[in-house]
């Protein structure tokens, strides 16, 4: 595989007295789609949100160990710049109650782009990449909250793409969506593979098997195993991984 873009070293995370992540050492390669699977409360989402320091929005959050992004410790990167480079898609589509256009243009605007034509082209490009352009091009200036759930989620992807990230984190992006919408999002992910590193946290093992190249299995805050997706789902080394992917528990 190619170069490492994100690396965590002995990452430990606490919320108050709870020890959520235990000694996570993980390398993520450029332009791969990495899946993170595991039962509820295994720390998948926390891990994801540690990568762009969103966890620091919680008051009793405490973190040990280091995370490196493109060889730089993320502590030394400005939070806003880091979150621009590492975008996130949440489980429930979090569109803002403004128009479709404004939702996508919001990110570039806060990062200082004011020119109307530039914004127009950014919005169109981002919506095309998220497979949404054809569906919304005639109603860009209607409220984004009127879109369906699947469309809203793709709008969130477009919004993230508009700030030109290098990494996109997906936190169970399809948990509230129907199979067709899910399929469209997976298509978008495949299309984005050439230019972006993508990390997909999912409860749906079938989705992980379909959409990812490598897969990590987490349990109770520990990283049990990480390997090529094909191996994780056919011949994992750890018994617990085997049981989880076969559906024995979880």
């Amino acid at each position: 595989m190619s170069e490492v873009i994100i690396k965590t070293v002995n990452l430990n995370v606490h919320f108050g007295k709870q020890h959520i992540l235990k000694n996570i050492n993980l390398e993520i390669y450029k332009n791969e789609i990495l899946g993170i699977i595991g039962p509820a409360n295994s720390g998948k989402t926390t891990f994801l949100r540690a990568l762009n320091r969103l966890n620091y929005l919680f008051k009793d959050y405490y973190q040990e160990g280091e995370i490196f992004f493109a060889q730089k410790n993320i502590k030394d990167i400005n939070d806003n710049l880091l979150r621009k480079k590492i975008g996130i898609i949440f489980a429930l589509p979090q569109v803002l109650p403004i128009t479709i256009y404004e939702n996508v243009a919001y990110g570039p605007k806060i990062h200082g782009i004011k020119d109307k034509d530039t914004l127009d082209s950014i919005v169109e490009k981002a919506l095309r990449k998220a497979y949404l352009w054809e569906e919304v091009k005639d109603r860009l200036h209607t409220l984004a909250t009127k879109l369906s759930g699947g469309q809203q989620q793709r709008l969130c992807i477009a919004r993230t793409l508009a700030v030109e990230p290098e990494v996109i984190l997906y936190d169970e992006p399809c948990s509230g969506l129907d199979p067709i919408s899910t399929q469209k999002i997976e298509e978008a992910m495949r299309e984005l593979k050439n230019n972006y590193t993508q990390i997909l946290v999912t409860n749906n093992t079938k989705q992980a098997a379909r959409a990812t190249e490598r897969c990590a299995f987490m349990l109770m805050g520990e990283l049990v195993e990480i390997d090529r997706t094909a191996i994780i789902f056919t011949s994992p080394k750890d018994k617990r991984t085997d049981e989880y992917v076969r559906g024995v528990f979880g």
């Binding site: 979150r83 621009k84 975008g87 979090q94 803002l96 109650p97 919001y106 806060i110 993230t160 700030v163």
Partner: protein, 290 residues
């Protein structure tokens, strides 16, 4: 079974009656005001009441022009609003989004105390301290002017504005903030472009309620604005509001005289203004809940 049903319907009846009584009261107050106010216009032309620039109730012939009083109220309210809206919204933002928990609790209890200070005490502060202070610093002829009243009224409206805006800000879904942060927005950008716009209708309602409070306030303005029923040329002059006029003159107006009815007419104007303001704020509040 039967007894139970009777019980239910009795309770239901009482609850219904309580609701209707409130509506009835408002309606009766309006009728009562209207009834006496209308009597003024038997002898005194309505046009002169609305557009007249002189309020001279005991001269001969008397003049009941409401313009100086209306302008007095509007001036004081306008400046009080200018003072209290930015301060109120900023403190609501601070309390809801920025302040650590212990500070938030301290601030909230102080705001409650501020709300519970009797207006006559504030008026006292105005006469003894704020008025002379403004007179000296701004080199005025008198400290008993519109601006002194505006400052104190702003202080009175602040608790309303802060607590209602704070509710509106807190009820902005956390997901909006996360979405903005996730795109790399700074805290200020998130507050300014996401939180405030989402809370805007609640905040506007808070402002309206604050204005309603200011325009109806009597004691403070009576004590500190100088009570000169002249058309004010600036906020730094003594002026008189609608409320202070009623409170100040009702005692000496002879019951059933023109002057007496004129004060009712002033009351009616005040009622209509506050009714409109409250009505607008209710509409905005209900829209913000959606």
């Amino acid at each position: 079974m039967c007894i139970r049903e009777i019980k239910e319907s009795v309770i239901e009846f009482f609850i219904k009656i309580s609701g209707f009584i409130i509506i009835l009261f408002v309606f009766l107050i309006f009728l009562f005001l209207l009834n006496d106010a209308v009597l003024l216009f038997k002898d005194f032309p309505l046009k002169e009441f609305i557009f007249g620039k002189r309020w001279l109730p005991i001269s001969n012939p008397p003049h009941f022009g409401i313009v100086p009083l209306l302008l007095g109220s509007l001036y004081v309210t306008f400046f009080a609003t200018i003072i209290c809206v930015p301060v109120g919204i900023a403190s609501a933002l601070f309390i809801a989004e920025i302040a650590p928990k212990f500070l938030r609790n301290i601030l909230k209890s102080f705001i409650e105390i501020l709300a519970s200070i009797p207006s006559v005490v504030l008026g006292f502060v105005g006469i003894v301290w704020l008025g002379p202070f403004l007179k000296d610093t701004l080199k005025l002829n008198t400290g008993m002017c519109g601006l002194t009243g505006s400052f104190l009224l702003a202080l009175m409206a602040l608790p309303t504005i802060i607590s209602i805006s704070e509710d509106a800000i807190i009820s902005v879904p956390k997901s909006f903030k996360e979405a903005a942060f996730g795109l790399g927005a700074t805290r200020w950008q998130t507050l300014w472009r996401v939180v405030l716009p989402s809370a805007s209708s609640g905040i506007i309602a808070a402002i309206m309620l604050g204005i309603g409070r200011v325009i109806g306030e009597t004691m403070v303005v009576m004590m500190v604005t100088g009570n000169a029923p002249l058309v004010p040329k600036s906020i730094l002059q003594p002026l008189r509001t609608l409320t202070a006029t009623i409170a100040g003159e009702m005692g000496e107006a002879i019951s059933g005289s023109e002057h007496y009815f004129a004060l009712f007419a002033v009351g009616l104007v005040l009622f209509i203004i506050t009714f409109i303001i409250n009505f607008l704020s209710v509409i905005l509040l209900s829209r913000s809940k959606k």
